[in-house]
Every structure is written in structure tokens, then in C-alpha cells.
């Protein structure tokens, strides 16, 4: 991005333009038309040069930002799957990366839920066996038990404890797997940060493009039109309605926004105020 914000050349160009204009007037006053044409040609060339330079700068800036994005993510082990390793269309790949984020989060959620599905019956079974054993113990305490009954109870208790050990191992293993499944957050977080970085770089570049375009208009003598503003205002309403129907997506800064509900309680309050 270096040098993109440097408009010093443009300032120089404006000074040159002013200087040359005076020179041009002097030459015209003297009737030196050949000299005047020469000045005009020089100005035209300087203008073209300026245009090329500004557009070139912008292109280079965009390219750098995009290239940086590509290389950094390429270095992470999570994304070695890129085909043939040659230079790929980076912006198009931002989509691919986001899809990858989607895939990772989906896998992690499924793994977690699979483990919960497997673990719940284990915990339930342990609880059920404990309940049965407790009844046996209660019975023994309440009545006169024979030695063989006591021995039976001992064996049942031993096998119960064995089950507990086994169940605890299973649960431990499953919990670890759930823990590991959360690792997606690391990778997806990084990928998303890269994409955010790319987007804001592109945004900055676009803002600068607008600035450069303004200067370019100045150089080429065009005036920008305000007429299109009216049309965009009309569209805004349609877009707002479309957003409302289609949905805005998850809201950030729920606590500080007044047009957004912070939690379920506020939803309930709003609905009950509407007679629900």
C-alpha cells in the first residue's frame, strides 16, 4: 500500500499547470503560436503521465494487499490443500476460505454433538446402576442378611465400581474430544481475520480510488454530477424493505443499539406490548 496516499505529485502537477498557463498566455500575447502549441503538448503529456501514475499506484496497492493476504494464509498448515500451489485468484479464494470456515465449524459442532449423544447414555446407565445398588444396600441395612447375600452384594458392588471406572474413562475420552473439536475456533478465527483484513484493505483502496478519481476528474477537466443522488435515495427505501424481509443477520453491539433487542426478555416485552 506504500505511496498510495502520496498525492504530492499531483500538487506538483497543479503548480506546473499554473506556471505553464502563465507561460502560455505570454506566448499567445506575443503571437508565438508554435511555442503555445508546444506548451499545450507538454501539459497534455504531463496530464497523461499523472493519470497513468495514479492508476498505476492504485493497482499496485490493491495487488500488494491481495498478495499479502494470499501468502499469509498459504503459510498456515490449515490451508495446504490449494491446487498446484501456483498463484491463484486471491479474492475468489476468500470465498473458498470462508466456505472452509463454514465446513470446520460445522464439523466441530457435529463432533461435539456426536460425543454428547454417546456420553449421555453412559451417564444415564451409571446413574441407573447406582440407583439399583443403593436399593440393595438399603435392603441389607434394613434386614438380617446371610453371609452369601453379603458376598453377592460385595460382588455386585465391585462390578458396579468397575462400570463406573469404565464409564468415567469413556466420558473422559469424549470430553477430551469435545475439547479438541473446539480447535476450529483458532483456525477459523485466523481465516476470518485474514478476510477482514483483505476487505478493509480493499475498502481503503477503494476510498483512495475515489480520491484519485476525484483528482483525475480535476486533471481531465470533468465535473462530477450530482444528479444521480436523487435516484439512489429512491432505491434506498426498496433496499431497506428488502433487508427487512430477507433478514439483517446476527446483530453486533446489541447492548448499545436502541433498534435492536438485547435478549429474549426484551423480545417478550416488545411482543406483550403488541398484545401477545
Amino acid at each position: 500500500m506504500a505511496g498510495l496516499e502520496d498525492f504530492a505529485d499531483l500538487h506538483n502537477f497543479e503548480e506546473v499547470l499554473q506556471g505553464k498557463a502563465k507561460e502560455l498566455l505570454e506566448l499567445l500575447d506575443k503571437g508565438n503560436f508554435a511555442g503555445a502549441m508546444q506548451i499545450l503538448a507538454e501539459l497534455s503529456e504531463a496530464r497523461n503521465h499523472m493519470l497513468y501514475q495514479e492508476v498505476g499506484r492504485l493497482t499496485r496497492g490493491l495487488h500488494e494487499a491481495i498478495k499479502e493476504f494470499n501468502i499469509d494464509v498459504e503459510n498456515s498448515t490449515a490451508f495446504q490443500a490449494s491446487p498446484d500451489g501456483s498463484e491463484i485468484s486471491e479474492v475468489a479464494n476468500a470465498n473458498e476460505r470462508l466456505n472452509y470456515v463454514l465446513e470446520l465449524t460445522e464439523n466441530a459442532a457435529n463432533t461435539t454433538m456426536d460425543m454428547v449423544d454417546v456420553s449421555m447414555p453412559v451417564a444415564e446407565e451409571m446413574g441407573e446402576q447406582a440407583r439399583l445398588l443403593r436399593q440393595d444396600w438399603k435392603q441389607m441395612a434394613d434386614s438380617q442378611s446371610s453371609l452369601s447375600e453379603l458376598k453377592d452384594l460385595g460382588r455386585t458392588t465391585e462390578s458396579f465400581l468397575q462400570e463406573i471406572e469404565k464409564g468415567s474413562d469413556t466420558l473422559n475420552k469424549n470430553f477430551t474430544e469435545i475439547l479438541l473439536a473446539q480447535g476450529f475456533q483458532d483456525i477459523t478465527g485466523q481465516l476470518i481475520k485474514r478476510v477482514i483484513g483483505l476487505v478493509s484493505d480493499v475498502e481503503t483502496s477503494l476510498v483512495q480510488l475515489v480520491a484519485v478519481a476525484g483528482k483525475v476528474d480535476q486533471i481531465s477537466g470533468l465535473t462530477s454530477e450530482d444528479a444521480k443522488d436523487d435516484a439512489s435515495e429512491v432505491d434506498e427505501k426498496a433496499v431497506a424493505e428488502d433487508n427487512l424481509v430477507k433478514g439483517h443477520g446476527p446483530q453486533l453491539h446489541k447492548e448499545t443499539s436502541t433498534d435492536v433487542v438485547a435478549d429474549q426478555d426484551e423480545v417478550d416485552d416488545l411482543l406483550s406490548s403488541l398484545g401477545f
Binding site: G247, G249, Q251, Q264, L270
Partner: protein
């Protein structure tokens, strides 16, 4: 009691399905947006609709409006479970005839409470 769960994220469908199963509702079917949900609803046999709002194709609000406009389906109880949290949206959904509105992220208790309330009213 047959319940249709509509959400474009399969993980969210699974979460809702599991929560419903815990609440004793074992008969669920799924759709990933309004346009796939509507034919399922029109085929009949669905007693309750749980839908997300923001989905590709037909959104949950559009689905809600279509259901209310259909004479065969207009009485179907509908619960919206969505991350859409703008006040104007909740008002819009209420006006369109939603029976309950749950914002994500939600808890199993909230989901149960809203479902109980809907059935209490619908009878």
C-alpha cells in the same frame, strides 16, 4: 405431533431437533429454507413449524406470510427461532402472525417455555 424445522444451517437444525426430542417431540422433519419448506407444508401432516428468518431462497418471514395466506395452512402454529434481533423485525413478524419469537443464542428452557405457551393458546 409432527414438527417441521426450517434452518439453512444443519447444525442449528440438529440442535433444535435434539432439544425437541428432549421435550418429547420425536417426530420431526427438516427443510433448509422457505422454498423447500413450503411444499412439505402443503403436502399436509405438519402440526407445528419452527423456522429461522435469514435463509437463502425464501426467508422465514416470506414463509410465514405464505403460510398465513394459504387457507389450508393459515392456522398452523409458527415459532420463529432466529438471530434477527431488530425491533422492527419482531414487530413485522408479529404483524405477519407469528406465534412465538426466540432470539439466538437461546437456551433449552426458553425454547420449551415458548413452545408450551403456543400449545396452551392453540389448545
Amino acid at each position: 405431533m409432527k414438527i417441521l424445522i426450517v434452518d439453512d444451517f444443519s447444525t442449528m437444525r440438529r440442535i433444535i431437533k435434539n432439544l425437541l426430542r428432549d421435550l418429547g417431540f420425536n417426530n420431526t422433519v427438516e427443510a433448509d429454507d422457505g422454498s423447500t419448506a413450503l411444499p412439505v407444508l402443503k403436502n399436509g401432516g405438519i402440526d407445528f413449524l419452527v423456522t429461522d428468518w435469514n435463509m437463502p431462497g425464501m426467508s422465514g418471514l416470506e414463509l410465514l406470510e405464505q403460510v398465513r395466506a394459504d387457507p389450508n395452512l393459515c392456522k398452523l402454529p409458527i415459532l420463529m427461532v432466529t438471530a434477527e434481533a431488530k425491533r422492527e423485525q419482531i414487530i413485522r413478524a408479529a404483524q405477519a402472525g407469528v406465534n412465538g419469537y426466540v432470539v439466538k443464542p437461546f437456551t433449552a428452557a426458553v425454547l420449551k417455555e415458548k413452545i408450551d405457551k403456543i400449545f396452551e393458546r392453540v389448545g
